[in-house]
């Protein structure tokens, strides 16, 4: 399958799945509500999957160019600033800024 169809089918399927998940209880498509245990477990989906994505993108293979120490420092700086400010724009500025500044010297 070429990348065009793979991308389109994946996008449409994730879109359909997303609509289903957003609407399932609103449209009463499910027979019953989620159990408290399931609701509790769902709270941990976001931190888990996002952490897995960060690792997977960074170390996921040749297509991403790999990670050197410059990237690690940039990620650490961005992460620290993001943690302090709770702001994605500042995290991006700090992370990219660090990458550019160190990159200019090495």
């Amino acid at each position: 399958m070429n990348v065009f169809w793979l991308g389109l089918i994946a996008t449409a399927s994730v879109g359909a799945g997303t609509y289903l998940m957003r609407s399932i209880f609103i449209l009463s498509l499910a027979d019953r509500d989620l159990s408290p245990q399931v609701l509790q477990a769902l709270r941990f989906v976001a931190p888990s999957v996002l952490a897995a994505l960060v690792v997977s993108i960074l170390f996921g293979g040749a297509d991403q160019g790999g990670v050197g120490w410059v990237e690690v420092i940039a990620l650490g700086t961005g992460g620290a600033v993001g943690w302090r400010t709770r702001s994605i724009p500042w995290l991006l500025v700090a992370g990219m800024g660090t990458l550019w500044v160190i990159g200019a010297f090495v």
Binding site: T11, F59, W100
Partner: protein
């Protein structure tokens, strides 16, 4: 209490501060699409077909990385699984809404829209609906334009700026926002460790194994916390 006249304006005004982080996010997404091997149009179609930034970025990143179709879809679904919570939380408020809105409303249910409208569920149903649609359409329009802007800007930016690095940074930012206590932190650490350890599984299968381990770790930590 909101009046029916002020609900529309209020929805838009409340959405504005939440848009500040959304605009750079959307632009990075546009850049990522322009740098990936999937076509710009297919990548951009996710803005409306999915309407969820993290999932769209996941699909764009993995589709261009030689990952199989089913693995890309599974990863996208896992990213979106939290929306089940939103649906369950808003179901009672939607019970008072007309049929057309029960079908249309969930389409717009991104994190920020949920955060806004969940605080208005006690409002009169007509007020709730106007507020919801106004906040949702504000988000939706700004999102479409910002992603397109990133797509246009992407190819102009010199390669040496290494803007692709903004993608892991962005996921890191979302991760930090999602860690709201020790159990969530445990979930993130375990997910990262397991993903790293299972890197060898084809089709980025380690991503799903890692995410699932994180959910279990978070749940256990929550239960056994004193």
């Amino acid at each position: 209490m909101l009046s029916i006249d002020s609900a529309r304006r209020r929805g838009m005004v409340d959405a504005l501060p939440l848009l500040t982080p959304v605009i750079p996010f959307a632009m990075v997404l546009g850049l990522a699409i322009s740098e990936s091997s999937i076509s710009d149009l297919v990548g951009w179609s996710g803005s409306s077909l999915i309407f969820g930034g993290a999932a769209q970025l996941t699909v764009v990143t993995l589709s261009g990385a030689g990952v199989g179709l089913l693995a890309v879809i599974a990863a996208g679904w896992v990213v979106q699984a939290r929306h089940l919570m939103y649906s369950a939380a808003l179901a009672p408020a939607f019970g008072l809404q007309p049929r057309w809105f029960r079908y249309l409303g969930p389409y717009f249910l991104v994190d920020q829209v949920f955060a806004l409208v969940v605080m208005r569920t006690d409002s009169d149903p007509d007020v709730f609906r106007r507020y919801y649609l106004s906040a949702a359409l504000t988000f939706w329009s700004v999102w479409q334009v910002s992603v397109a802007l990133g797509l246009v800007v992407g190819p102009v930016v010199p390669e040496s700026w290494a803007l692709g690095f903004a993608v892991p940074l962005l996921f890191l930012g979302l991760l930090i926002g999602a860690v709201d206590g020790p159990p969530a932190a445990a979930a993130a650490v375990v997910a990262a460790g397991v993903t790293l350890a299972t890197m060898g599984i084809p089709n980025r299968g380690g991503l799903l194994v890692g995410a699932l381990s994180g959910v279990v770790a978070g749940y256990m930590t929550q239960r056994w916390r004193p």
